[in-house]
Structure formats: C-alpha cells, structure tokens
C-alpha cells in the first residue's frame, strides 16, 4: 500500500524560503483570508464578501486558462 498519508518530507517547513515552494492556494487562504483588516483611507475591502467572491471566481477562470496553456504544471 502506498504511503499516501504524511511522509517525512511533507513535514518540511513551507514557510522557509529555501525549502519547498509554498502552494499558491495555501498562501491565498492566509494572506487573503487572514491578517488584520483595517479601514484605511484607501480601503481595499478584502473583508467585503463580494470582493472576495468575485476574486475567487476570476481566479478560477484564470487558473483554468493557465492550466490549458501549461499542461502538466501543478501549483
């Protein structure tokens, strides 16, 4: 039976820049979904649900287009 579950190499720190590259999807979960949200003079309301929803939809469309171009590349 193949070791599909956690292998030692998977415990490598993703945050260390000299190790495995960070998956974009994991990064976006955090930098878009997390962090402190402020109301500033220029407010990019990522806390605004509509904004995030629109972005995710656009991202999905972009990813499909990219996936069709770069076959076999995985994030």
């Amino acid at each position: 039976m193949t070791a599909d579950h956690l292998a030692p190499e998977r415990t490598r720190a993703a945050g260390d820049l000299d190790r495995e590259p960070i998956a974009l999807v994991d990064l976006l979960d955090r930098v878009l979904g997390g962090g402190v949200v402020l109301a500033g003079e220029v407010t990019l309301s990522l806390a605004d649900v509509d904004m995030v929803t629109i972005s995710v939809r656009a991202l999905v469309a972009s990813v499909s287009a990219l996936a069709n171009q770069d076959q076999g590349d995985s994030p």
């Binding site: 579950h5 976006l28 955090r30 997390g34 402020l38 500033g40 220029v42 972005s55 656009a58």
Partner: protein, 279 residues
C-alpha cells in the same frame, strides 16, 4: 511624478525591530524589495512599529487594486512578495500580519490608526508571541475513494440477469454504503482536528480549497490552521504524523511554520484589531 501610497505588511512591538533587521531599510546590505520593488521601512508610533513600503497608487490605489487583484499572475507575484517580507520579519520577532492589500494614502494616516488601535494591536501581539501557525489539510485517501462500493462485475463472466426491483435494492444498498463511508470519513476528520486542536493554543478553519486552484480532485475534508507554541512544535508535528498513521483513510498534508495570518482576531470568527465598519 507618481503618487505613493503606503503598503503595510505587518505590525510588531517597537524596539523588537530595527532598520537593518530582516533586510529592512535602505542602509541594509541585502535589502528585501517590497511588493512594488520599493524599499521596506518602519513606521513607529509609541510602542508599535509597522513594516511598510511605498507603492504607486496608479497600480495600488483602490480602483486599480481591485482590477489587479483579479489578475492571477499579478496576485500571485504580489502575494508571494508580501509573504516573503512578513515571513522574514517573523523570524526576527512576533508580528501581526496585515491582510494583503492594506494600503494607506500617507504614513500619517497609518500612524493615526496605530495610535487609535494601540491596545488592540498590543493584545493581538500578546496572543501570538512565541507561537507559529501550522496548516493541516486532509483529503480522502485515493485507496479509500476507489474502494467505494460499485456494482460488482467480474470481467469475463456474463452479468446475471435480475429483476428491476432486485437492481434497485442493490443500488440503494450501494448508495447507503457510500454514504456510510462518507460519514465515517467525516467523523475521522473531526477526530483528527480535535486531536490537533488539543495540542494547539487555537485553531481556525478555512473553506475547503477549490480543486481548480489546488490542482487535485481528491476530496478535502480538513483545511485548518493551528496556533502552536514554538516550544511544542515537535510534539504537534509528531501528533500530525501519528494521526496520519492511525487514519489511513485520510491523506494529511502539513505546512508551516507560518506567520500567524489566521489568528489576527481574538475570536477567529470575530473582528480583527482595528476593524471598523467599512465607510
């Protein structure tokens, strides 16, 4: 001449961070470039320091930013650059990361906010000091997926004729077996999450990732972040390994350590420090 805004990466306790640390400041030997290539600097107000860099409002102002954030290559480049700086600073001291695309028109505006929200930031920094975020994702393991019951057909043998009612009965049984397998997987995932949360100070759940973004068809049943004392890191990662071994029906992936992006708010469902109703 372009109009500069101020992109904010993170906030730390003043005195714990100086120009020259982590590639900050023009005088640094090996400066880390900011999201627009500008120099990373510090803006301090009383005992708080914000890590910032200048950005051209023609690209990073409200309207262009909304458009640019919907362009995946732009978003990816900016997200990675932003994270690079947050992570570099996090190696030096406890930082409270800002959400991507926090831009002020001026340092004065940023400084005013730091003054007003001082207490919230101090409390938030206190909650994450000496701690790191770890990410765990769990998928239904391929072996488990393929073993979901199907109509049994052995190659080379003719299928046995049966009545319509007989077929329907078998189909219902197969569907309920699949549903049972699904419920078992969910129960296992809940158990694993509970176990990991028990080794952490706090836990935050994310939405399951879109397969088109994650690049896998495997069903995601956990997408969580855990805030773990740095001293208990080994114990936590060992618990993840153990959970992987005892739950072969799941495939677990661990990422980390991350700066504490998912723990900006006192209560993960509640408002983050400095949050106000949008104007």
């Amino acid at each position: 001449m372009s109009d500069d805004g101020v992109w904010v990466y993170a906030v730390a306790q003043a005195g714990s961070l100086r120009e020259g640390d982590a590639g900050i400041g023009a005088s640094t030997a090996d400066p880390l470039p900011g999201v627009a290539g500008g120099p990373v600097r510090l803006v301090s107000v009383s005992d708080l320091t914000a890590v910032v860099s200048p950005v051209d409002l023609a690209e990073f102002g409200e309207e262009p930013l909304r458009r640019n954030l919907e362009r995946l290559p732009w978003l990816e480049a900016v997200a990675r650059s932003h994270h690079g700086i947050v992570a570099a600073v996090a190696k030096t001291t406890a930082v409270m990361p800002m959400r991507l695309a926090t831009v002020y028109r001026s340092e004065q505006g940023l400084a005013a906010m730091l003054g007003e929200r001082h207490g919230d930031f101090i409390a938030a920094l206190g909650r994450i000091a000496g701690r790191s975020e770890w990410g765990v994702k769990a998928y239904v393991a391929r072996a488990a997926q393929s073993s979901e019951p199907r109509r049994d057909r052995r190659p080379g043998t003719p299928s046995r004729p049966g009545s319509g009612a007989d077929y329907l009965k078998k189909r219902r049984a197969a569907l309920s077996a699949t549903e049972q397998a699904r419920q078992n997987t969910v129960a296992t995932a809940e158990r694993v999450h509970s176990q990991l949360a028990g080794r952490a100070v706090a836990a935050a759940l994310h939405r399951p990732q879109d397969p088109q973004l994650s690049g896998t068809d495997d069903r995601m049943v956990i997408n969580a972040s855990y805030l773990v004392d740095d001293e208990r890191q080994t114990e936590f990662t060992a618990t993840v390994e153990q959970a992987a071994t005892t739950s072969p029906e799941l495939r677990l992936e661990l990422t980390g350590p991350w700066p504490p992006y998912s723990f900006a708010a006192a209560d993960p469902g509640g408002p983050a420090p400095g949050a106000r109703a949008p104007r």
